[in-house]
């Protein structure tokens, strides 16, 4: 990989990161009154507030405060949760793997299934299979993901109770082995991951379909058929790799949407990830946690964009050399 190109991308990401930090700082220190959040006492006396202000460095000039904040953030000191009195970073650290599991499963499945369906539809353009898939994906695209989640609960946990409706593993269960626990988690993952997949599927499908339709009209596809390559291999080995490129960019852009979906889907399935943490923080006005999860979501999007750039770089030789 071209080091200069990479350095440029990383630098751009860092600039965005500073922006995000500044914004986060502004939002919580300036817009939300920090003292009420910090004290959280119904009626703290002015002296107490002064004490708190100096304790948290709020009596310093704003630039100093920002530098303090940036420094603390760099050291992963995101403050203390008002609810649990644990460090916000500990809370986030515990939640991240669960969110990664859910979001990762959802994204991978949505990409694979979306791409696969997109290929099916594009190669059957205008036929009933295409129309059906198009309708289905538009519907999932337009429907709220948490609603789909609730319907999944209704169908697969209430009417046909084959899947657990919430949480990441059976509460209170003592697992005899790592494997039993993994199986239990997998079972709990089915419905939320399905909801996440359905939420993303429509977009991925639509993009893959139109990208495939474009690619299939390219000359080289005819050339590949002309050399005697069977149609399914033309599609698999040449059309799909080309059509996948826009999908990569999409998955990065999607990440912001994924973050939103994580909040609602984790909420309805009580999935103990960043989303539920955010939801709990909303309800309890636990601003340090809210600030922390918001920061993590933003950073995740920046990183996702960077990864997508790199992935695009690996996948598309045209970017590598120009």
């Amino acid at each position: 990989m071209n080091p200069r190109w990479l350095a440029g991308k990383v630098a751009a990401s860092l600039v965005t990161l500073v922006f995000v930090l500044a914004f986060n700082f502004f939002l919580f220190r300036v817009m939300g009154d920090p003292t009420t959040q910090l004290a959280r006492l119904p009626r703290a006396s002015p002296a107490e507030i002064e004490k708190l202000k100096s304790y948290y460095g709020l009596d310093k000039p704003i630039t100093g405060q920002f530098l303090d904040y940036a420094g603390d953030t760099a050291r992963l000191d995101l403050g203390i949760s008002q609810r649990t009195r644990r460090s916000v970073w500990d809370e986030i650290k515990d939640a991240i793997p669960w969110t990664l599991l859910l979001v990762g499963t959802g994204t991978v499945l949505a990409t694979l299934i979306g791409a696969w369906l997109g290929v099916i539809a594009a190669t059957r353009r205008g036929r009933p299979a295409d129309d059906g898939l198009l309708g289905f994906s538009l519907f999932t695209y337009a429907s709220p993901e948490y609603w789909i989640g609730i319907i999944l609960i209704l169908v697969f946990a209430v009417w046909l109770p084959i899947f657990p409706a919430g949480q990441q593993m059976t509460p209170g269960e003592d697992f005899s082995s790592w494997f039993a626990q993994a199986a239990d988690v997998a079972e709990h993952l089915v419905l939320p991951a399905t909801a996440m997949t359905l939420m993303l599927l429509g977009q991925y499908f639509l993009i893959m379909r139109s990208s495939m339709v474009d690619v299939l009209t390219e000359d080289f596809i005819t050339v590949k058929r002309a050399i005697g390559l069977p149609w399914d291999r033309v599609v698999r080995q040449h059309a799909v790799p080309n059509a996948l490129l826009p999908l990569v960019t999409l998955s990065a852009i999607q990440f912001g949407i994924v973050a939103g979906g994580a909040v609602t889907i984790e909420t309805i399935f009580s999935w103990p990830g960043l989303g539920e943490l955010t939801y709990d923080a909303i309800n309890d006005k636990d601003f340090p946690v809210l600030q922390g999860t918001f920061l993590v979501f933003s950073v995740a999007v920046i990183i996702a964009n960077l990864i997508a750039d790199c992935l695009y770089f690996v996948l598309d030789p045209r970017v590598q050399t120009s």
Partner: protein, 600 residues
């Protein structure tokens, strides 16, 4: 694709399924021997640190983990020995001497001494969020020896016996930690050293709180080896878990589904009064106390309030807003306080005619079905209610609906908790300036001593907890007098007079007394009794006494069959799909090659 590869893949997947289906069975064998009481809850403890915690759920764990200096009797809630075995009140009633139980030990084997008591009263009593205030009258705490604690108060304070709701925590654990840390992010080390029948041994926020037997518990050994508080995602999920038998009891069931829950197999529900109520609050702040308050002055017309009280059918409010799970209110002292409660004389039974008559007589005239008015003043009030409580919103709508019948107009305004807090605690120039006519919210009190609730409408509390801003010197005097009265009968009479005063003046119209709603598996728990207080209290003796839970016996009911039908179905489906796919590919690659040329 070779046939051999296909077979290998299929065998591997079959093995995987076998392993998965076999394993949970193995897991169950392991856990079967321990007798575990599983309690499900939708909200769990946020932190166990008693200095900063402020959630009700904490008491469920704390009350099993720790003792009070003076515990409550599960029979009638009256004071019984806790950490203190006996107590003695001096003739001037300003000194109470506690004798501690001899030889009592913390769960880690350290002796429980007077130093622990002094530390708890001192520190928790002043520096914690929810235990402060109880020792406001205390001037000194002395520990002449390991087993004696002498508490001196400014004035006689009856709360010293049965009203000191402060847990006794081990000084040798907490005393070493700087106060700043305790008030910030301290997490008590596990097992959480205590004196109750169970101590917390595991706490995973969002998942489980596990309590195991305290080896040094001085009482009888409880039947269950372990108590688990299991956190579910929603109240709904908790109830489903109970129906499925994943848990044995629910300490806090939901009003809307309560009746239905009781109809499930092997599920019993229990409803008991609790020390809390939901009230319609009137803004009675005087010009002197609140020069900048904003409200419709008509709200301070006692006749109007009384008329409203007659017009509101509290029974109906209970039936509709809480599905009949609460109890219609009868004044500021809930029925829960059995040893103090007496039905007030002015109870305002539902009587809209009388209400209309009173308003007519007072000159509040009405045209047709309109709003009553007098000299340009209208009986039109804002009625604030917090958005997070559907029950309160419902109650507000019913109040408005019924008040309309007597020509009183309530404008129901649903606002967030913060907004409601803001308008009730507004200050201008250091003086309270509440900005409301009426609102609906609730209060909760302590298990035995009613002072906390009675205090809410004292003049002292304006600027503190008072949200009706009621001020009546007579009431204040009675409050102080009852607070220092150690004689039960005398105190009860004083309290009766206070309730009568508040019923006359109506700073609060108590709509409902709120209940404990509990549910449990009758096949998993036996020796279940209504107590705290007997025979009307709740079966788990919430927040009051560990005796009820310590006395429970495991039932015969089978363990939950934690089935994994779903995952097996999915895997089977995947296997079938993969097999079909592989088969098709194999067939295609192997046989039935298409002819190259068709015959014409």
């Amino acid at each position: 694709m070779r046939l051999r590869t296909i077979v290998a893949v299929l065998v591997a997947m079959a093995a995987l399924i076998a392993a998965i289906t076999a394993l949970p069975a193995g897991a169950q064998d392991d856990g079967g021997k321990k007798k575990v009481l599983r309690l499900g809850q939708a909200q769990d403890v946020q932190t166990l640190n008693p200095f900063v915690a402020q959630d009700e759920e904490n008491f469920r764990a704390w009350s099993l983990n720790w003792d009070l200096l003076v515990n409550f009797s599960p029979d009638d809630l009256t004071p019984v020995p806790g950490i203190a075995e006996s107590w003695d009140v001096s003739p001037d009633k300003k000194t109470v001497t506690f004798k501690l139980i001899e030889g009592a030990k913390w769960s880690d084997g350290e002796p429980i001494t007077s130093k622990d008591v002094k530390y708890s009263l001192d520190k928790l009593g002043t520096d914690s969020l929810i235990f402060s205030g109880y020792t406001s009258n205390v001037t000194s705490i002395e520990t002449p020896d390991e087993n004696t604690v002498v508490v001196k108060t400014k004035q006689p304070d009856a709360r010293m016996i049965g009203g000191l709701f402060i847990y006794m925590i081990p000084e040798h654990v907490y005393g070493k930690v700087p106060l700043a840390k305790l008030k910030k992010d301290f997490q008590p080390p596990l097992p959480m050293v205590g004196s109750g029948p169970y101590v917390v041994t595991e706490f995973e926020h969002g998942r489980i709180l596990r309590m195991e037997r305290n080896p040094n518990f001085r009482g009888e050994k409880p039947a269950f080896d372990e108590i688990q508080f299991i956190k579910y995602g929603s109240a709904d999920a908790v109830e489903r878990a109970l129906r499925l038998g994943e848990i044995d009891a629910i300490p806090e069931a939901q009003a809307p589904s309560f009746e239905k829950l009781g109809q499930a197999d092997n599920v019993k529900t229990d409803r008991a009064p609790s020390p809390s109520f939901t009230q319609l609050t009137f803004n009675l702040c005087s010009e002197e106390n609140c020069p900048d308050a904003k409200f419709n002055p008509a709200v301070q017309d006692r006749t109007v309030r009384q008329a409203i009280a007659y017009a509101v059918d509290r029974e109906r409010v209970n039936t509709i807003s809480t599905r009949g799970t609460s109890f219609p209110g009868h004044g500021i002292l809930p029925q829960y306080y059995k040893s103090w409660y007496e039905q007030p004389d002015d109870d305002y039974p539902f009587d809209p005619d009388k209400a209309n008559q009173m308003l007519d007589d007072a000159g509040w005239t009405r045209e047709g079905d309109g709003t009553r008015s007098k000299d340009g003043a209208e009986l039109s009030f804002d009625l604030f209610v917090r958005s997070e409580s559907p029950e309160n919103i419902q109650a507000a709508k019913l109040v408005a609906e019924q008040a309309r019948e007597i020509g009183v107009d309530f404008k129901v305004q649903v606002v967030s908790v913060d907004k409601l807090t803001e308008i009730t605690t507004r200050e201008v120039d250091g003086k309270m300036a509440p900005d409301f006519d009426t609102f609906i919210w609730g209060w909760g009190g302590d298990p035995y001593d009613p002072s906390a609730l009675l205090q809410l409408i004292t003049t002292d509390q304006i600027g503190g907890s008072s949200d009706a801003f009621y001020s009546n010197p007579e009431y204040d005097r009675l409050f102080d007098e009852q607070a220092g009265e150690f004689d039960h009968a005398k105190r009860k009479e004083l309290i009766r007079q206070m309730v009568a005063l508040s019923q006359r003046d109506l700073p609060y119209l108590v709509l409902t007394d709120d209940p404990w709603l509990e549910a449990y598996r009758s096949d998993r728990m036996t020796n279940v009794a209504k107590q705290c207080p007997k025979p009307s209290g709740d079966v788990l003796c919430q927040q009051v006494n560990y005796a009820a839970i310590a006395e429970l016996e495991p039932g015969e009911g089978g363990d939950d069959g934690g089935s994994s039908t779903g995952i097996i179905a999915v895997i089977a489906l995947v296997v079938v799909a993969v097999a079909a796919f592989l088969f098709v590919r194999w067939r295609r690659s192997r046989g039935g090659r298409e002819p190259l040329e068709l015959e014409t």
